[in-house]
Symmetry: C2
Subunit: 226 residues, 2 copies
DNA sequence: ATCCTCATGTAAGTGGTTACATGATTGT
DNA sequence: ACAATCATGTAACCACTTACATGAGGAT
């Protein structure tokens, strides 16, 4: 479980479950989400396993705080996780599945609308990360070159987030251009409802010429499974 | 559940659970994975709900095939799903979490190794998709402009996959450049084990200057929750 | 004989979400 | 008085994975 290891990493600085939730929402958000209802039991599990220790603390309001901290055994587990290389699961992208099947709507205008919404969403997230980066640049005169190692790694993570989101936005832009080009071509060659934009019979099953297996089937990258 | 809707889309052409598994492994793989043990119960559920119908068929070897097909009610459900806009969950990226916490290893060389492995993995996946695209280009003289709508949407999906994976590879390349630059600088300014590459005390908790909340906290994009 | 592919499934477990329960303190 | 924030948690559910069970037919 990755959440366990992430908590191990964050708890190198003591924090309560409630504190951690804020860290996720305010800073980790763009690559990992976590709910309190999952954080609390995970903390207990870490404690039971000896990877984190807990001490009670008082709060000005509300119930007593349970402040956790990673133990040396916990840090060993964290290092093992980091050292065994990148964990790339088979990520699932529902929006790609939607595009794959969107011929069902039989209307390229809807596909176009879908892509613009998608683009705007990626772009909003991208802007949020860029704001964060700008803030760091302004706050620290020698950002990012002179950063101490922990901050440098945080910086690397943020850069990855910004660059890959930028890639997503550009992907959408390219698709939107292609879509518009195709729609223009159809409008000019046969005005009115063309046979390509609107399905003649919406109940006819779609025929995928392209959905053929590629010739070198065996040489395709197999999914990484542990 | 997205798998339900994906099956609804794929079953516009009749197929058995076993057939569908192959479709996932050979073509859908880069944006959605599915196991047989999940596909079979889902098919039953779709049938019970009236979104798919099933008919028995014989097989030359092995038990009888249960061939499913989407019903008109099922296609309505599929269209509703597609029409209600992109489904962008809070994707989790364990490898970004690993980078975020990798200062724990206290050795930039290991971070660099991590990034090169990551880059190679993205690149292998990218090459697989490019091979697929090349195959389509060669097989069809007027690819992609003259494609019928279903194939055009499959094409759009593949392009999105290729472009965003390309973005990931470039992100890794940039990080690798930055890492090398920093390592070079350290080597020249203070030869031997420098205080930036190696942690003096591996048990000291890391201090994150950058892990501060940005000034415009409230204006950050909230996660989309339905 | 033994293994691979075809073809169906079940059962147990994991990682995560949604909804609910509780109660103190502070601000409007 | 009412809502928001602080702070803890539980219970039920959901999507998905791993491991297991079964058995026919063809290939080595």
């Amino acid at each position: 479980m990755s959440l366990e290891h992430i908590l191990l990493g964050l708890l190198r600085q003591p924090a309560s479950g409630y504190d951690l939730k804020k860290v996720f929402d305010e800073r980790i958000d763009y690559f990992w989400a976590a709910e309190l209802s999952q954080i609390y039991p995970t903390l207990k599990r870490l404690e039971k396993r000896g990877w984190a220790r807990c001490c009670q603390a008082v709060s000005s309001r509300g119930p007593g705080r349970r402040v956790y901290e990673t133990t040396t055994a916990g840090r060993r587990a964290l290092r093992d996780w980091l050292a065994k290389g990148p964990e790339i699961g088979d990520e699932r992208f529902a929006y790609l599945a939607q595009i794959y099947l969107m011929d069902e709507l039989g209307d390229l205008k809807q596909t176009l609308r879908f892509f613009t919404v998608l683009r705007d969403d990626f772009n909003r997230k991208l802007e949020a990360l860029r704001r964060l980066e700008r803030y760091w640049v302004e706050a620290d005169p020698h950002y990012p070159d002179e950063l101490p190692p922990p901050d440098f790694h945080v910086h690397l993570t943020l850069r990855m987030g910004i660059l890959s989101l930028g890639g997503h936005v550009r992907s959408c832009d390219e698709s939107i251009r292609r879509l518009r080009a195709r729609m223009d071509r159809e409008k000019h060659t046969r005005p009115g409802v063309s046979k390509s934009t609107r399905r003649k019979n919406p109940h006819a099953p779609p025929r995928h010429k392209l959905a053929l297996r590629p010739p070198d089937r065996k040489s395709q990258t197999p999914r990484a499974r542990p």
